[in-house]
């Protein structure tokens, strides 16, 4: 066990964990941040997506010891009041069915729009195809990314 200092959602955390513990489990088990989901553990489904210095990153394979001073943002820290343009678009379009994958979808979409404020359909598909939605809400995810692109 080692002590790790982490910058998450604008706050400083100190937590003890084994060095190889994936960030996902530090968030969920140590820090009580349950918004980031486990789906596959091998970076195939995207349910665990967080931002690392603003970039979409799969937290299920990222050892806590590799984070260093990087800034982590989870779904809980994407906005103060759940009003990030992507969250608003997801609500407007009413994307979720079971909802389990949506935090990961939202984090992937938010990083895309930061990098590419007006993505083409092909760019949306290329990026969002890394995230699985078992309920099949893909049409609305795509629509919501476009709606979010129109918001400030």
């Amino acid at each position: 066990m080692a002590l790790f200092k982490l910058q998450i959602n604008g706050k400083s955390y100190q937590t003890e964990a084994e060095a190889d513990t994936p960030l996902l489990w530090v968030l969920r088990d140590n820090l009580g941040l349950f918004g980031t989901k486990y789906g596959c553990g091998i970076a195939q489904c995207g349910a665990c997506t967080v931002h690392l210095n603003g970039e979409a990153t799969r937290s299920c394979m990222l050892p806590v010891s590799a984070i260093g001073t990087s800034k982590v943002t989870t779904i809980e820290g994407l906005s103060k009041n759940g009003d990030h343009p992507v969250q608003k678009a997801w609500d407007e379009v009413d994307v979720a069915q079971c909802g389990y994958c949506q935090a990961g979808q939202i984090m992937t979409a938010a990083a895309l729009l930061k990098r590419k404020p007006q993505p083409t359909d092909a760019e949306i598909e290329a990026t969002m195809s890394g995230n699985i939605c078992r309920c099949g809400t893909y049409h609305r995810i795509k629509e919501a990314v476009k709606v979010a692109a129109t918001k400030k």
Partner: protein, 713 residues
């Protein structure tokens, strides 16, 4: 169409004054709300909710509705309250919805399965809302000293037009709770619905979109331990376990044997996962060690077996085939499939000396409670089950194995434990869609009439893999449907739209081939058969011919069937889970490969409760149906699954979906379910369109492994 209902008194338990004043009504399944105009009242603190009831109205006008059925993504937690709120004339923005725990005293059928929740509860929910509305109306009339028939309700208010007075439901709640409960309450006319049929958002959106801990895997209790199990493959049992290394690892509290599995219990998920991987387990043979290659052989044997179970026999099939001008034969095969809900199996259990507490995602919480009670020797009322939102289920969570495991582990280590399955555990741990092979034979006479029809279903652990009364049964004079099943150690169970999820593909693909042999348009061919089922039926007809024709016509009209240039269309129609769905797929060939561009779907599920939820269910079913038909494949070698995670088991992704155009037949028929019926026809709509585009028939799933897709990953 207004209906007078003599509602069952059992459905109305009692009325009690709410804590802090307010109306509490107990019905099966219900609740509603009401209140004042202007801003939503959801921020107002409601009085303590009495969980002996379902609907409460607080003096501020906030209406709390308990939703008793498990929410698995089918949208029931939004749909049920809409129905109550409609009849109550509530203002939707002042409704608060809460998930009820398992409570068999107050609720019936707390199940998510069979697309059955809405048809089961439709009338009950309406009566519940209408009854409360009636009592509020009576209370206002009494206060004003006017006739109740001169009063009306709107958006959470009772109005008296003559004197221009109005009172909010909140103001009336306490008095209303003392009014007699009407025994036959008048329901709204369908044309007067204001909420039902609108586009209403998922009530859990705020929590889902901000990462609130809504799901079973998110459940946390101080002092709780994490458990993971290593389970045997199919046909094996535990021989010995060396857990010394695992036990010595940091954070590990105990390693225990549960039946034929080994459970590692510890303080954190990652520690437990690593210790589980460090177990040294020896398994021994405990049954047949079956491989997919064995099943392929067994299928052929079953299809040629003289011993089967006859499911339906009409007329004289032998003579019909002897006299046939043309005989068409085809076989179709579909593999095992895991359910793959994105939230893997998990459950929290705390077994104490004289009680047990369960929390988690279950489609059948009552079964989990009863099995727990039996296992622990407790009366069922000593076992509580709290329902969490489920990260998908698709039938997997109709089984209670994972909840019972949590109970066993908690008991063994005498502590509160959340058992979780890794994705690998989930994919390899059993309960699959059964694998099936069908043989169809059709006899046409010289005029190309279908005079004989045979279907044999050969399955691995499916029981009866046919649905003998489904179309075209009833439309063919000479018909024989039988089935044969092989018992395998590979465990199976219901998978979204059980049996029909692959039977519909086979039937509708075969009918397409028969239509071709009869030189008829595939739609026209089916319409002629349907006319026959109506005008000159053979045996039992269990589908409504007019409703099936209705969805066919709607799909044909919306898709421009037969008139479109530049795309190849394929048709499919199916009746399952009480709803009718016709679908038309559109395929083009790009770089020598068929590409599915669009699916038109036309459904008749009666009255649509929520446009948003209904559209989602149809699209989700089509994506699910196409995705698994295209890619899903679970194979075995000596009882051990070959696929273990999403790197070797493919689920459909955004860049592989077609456009999906969703339509509903508009009628005033009582609503039926939508969680499943749009899935079964999807596979054949695609396969038939691919045939049109390429001239190649698809007989086996997954499609991607067949010749026409070779080279496509």
């Amino acid at each position: 169409m207004s209906s007078q209902l003599n509602h069952n008194r059992r459905n109305f338990l009692k009325i009690a004054a709410a804590t802090g004043g307010g109306l509490l009504l107990g019905f099966n399944w219900t609740d509603s709300e009401a209140a004042v105009s202007g801003a939503p009242l959801k921020g107002v603190a409601a009085p303590a909710i009495d969980f002996n009831s379902y609907l409460s109205i607080n003096p501020q006008g906030v209406i709390t509705i308990l939703s008793p059925n498990p929410e698995v993504g089918q949208g029931i937690k939004t749909a049920f309250p809409i129905i109550v709120a409609e009849e109550l004339d509530a203002d939707w923005k002042n409704v608060v919805v809460e998930q009820a725990p398992l409570d068999t005293q107050k609720f019936e059928r707390q199940v998510a399965g069979g697309s059955g929740s809405i048809p089961h509860s439709w009338k009950r929910l309406r009566v519940a809302g209408a009854t409360a509305r009636h009592m509020l109306l009576e209370a206002a009339a009494k206060r004003w000293n006017v006739s109740a028939s001169d009063c009306t309700t709107s958006k959470g208010f009772v109005l008296h037009a003559a004197s221009k007075r109005k009172l909010s439901y909140g103001e009336l709640a306490t008095e209303a709770s003392k009014m007699p409960v009407p025994t036959d309450v008048k329901l709204k006319e369908i044309k007067d619905f204001k909420l039902i049929g609108q586009t209403i958002k998922n009530v859990d959106n705020p929590g889902i979109l901000t990462g609130k801990p809504l799901f079973g895997l998110d459940f946390h209790r101080e002092g709780m331990l994490i458990g993971m199990l290593q389970r045997p493959a199919f046909g094996y049992k535990l021989k010995s376990v060396d857990s010394a290394a695992a036990k010595a690892m940091p954070g590990i509290v105990n390693v225990v044997t549960i039946n034929n599995s080994v459970a590692v219990v510890g303080k954190s998920t990652w520690q437990v996962k690593k210790a589980k991987d460090a177990l040294k387990i020896e398994w021994e043979k405990d049954g047949n060690l079956e491989s997919t290659s064995d099943h392929n052989r067994i299928f052929k044997e079953m299809l040629d077996s003289p011993t089967t179970t006859v499911r339906r026999k009409d007329g004289d099939v032998e003579t019909a085939f002897k006299n046939a001008a043309k005989v068409i034969k085809a076989e179709y095969q579909c593999p095992f499939l895991p359910h793959s809900p994105l939230e893997p199996m998990n459950f929290f259990a705390h077994v104490k000396a004289d009680s047990a507490e369960l929390v988690g995602p279950s489609q059948t919480p009552e079964a989990a409670r009863n099995q727990t009670a039996k296992l622990l020797g407790l009366p069922p009322e000593k076992v509580s089950v709290q329902l969490t939102r489920m990260g998908g289920g698709f039938g997997r969570r109709l089984n209670t194995d994972y909840a019972i495991e949590a109970v066993q582990v908690s008991k063994a280590v005498n502590a509160p434990v959340k058992v979780m399955w890794t994705r690998e555990d989930d994919m390899t741990g059993g309960i699959y869609r059964p694998a099936v092979r069908y043989r169809f034979e059709a006899a046409l006479d010289a005029q190309n009439n279908l005079i004989g029809y045979k279907l044999r279903g050969a399955s691995i652990n499916a029981g009866n893999a046919t649905r003998e009364d489904n179309f075209p049964s009833g439309a063919v004079e000479n018909l024989l449907i039988d089935s044969i099943d092989h018992k395998s150690p590979i465990t199976t169970g219901p998978w979204r739209a059980p049996i029909t999820n692959f039977l519909a593909f086979a039937e509708q693909a075969f009918l397409d081939e028969v239509a071709q042999a009869a030189d008829k348009d595939p739609v026209q061919f089916r319409l002629e058969l349907l006319d026959k089922a109506k005008q000159k039926p053979t045996g039992k007809v269990t589908y409504d011919v007019d409703r099936m024709k209705g969805v066919i016509q709607l799909a044909v009209e919306k898709s421009g069937w037969g008139k479109k240039k530049g795309v190849s269309q394929g048709f499919s129609v199916y009746f399952s889970h009480r709803s009718y769905v016709a679908q038309i797929g559109e395929v083009v060939v790009e770089k020598g490969k068929p590409v599915l561009k669009k699916v038109y779907s036309a459904a008749d599920c009666g009255i649509v409760i929520n446009q948003s939820g209904a559209q989602q269910q149809v699209r989700g079913c089509v994506v699910d149906g196409i995705g698994h038909a295209m890619y899903g494949n679970m194979t075995f070698k000596d009882g051990i699954p070959d696929q273990k995670n999403f790197n070797d088991y493919k689920l459909i992704r955004m860049n592989e979906i077609p456009e999906i155009d969703v339509h509903f037949v508009q009628n005033e028929i009582d609503p039926t379910g939508l969680g499943e019926p749009s899935l079964p026809p999807a596979g054949a709509a695609v396969a038939n369109a691919i045939f049109k585009a390429t001239g190649k028939r698809l007989y086996n799933q997954p499609f991607v492994e067949t010749e026409v897709f070779k080279g496509v990953s």
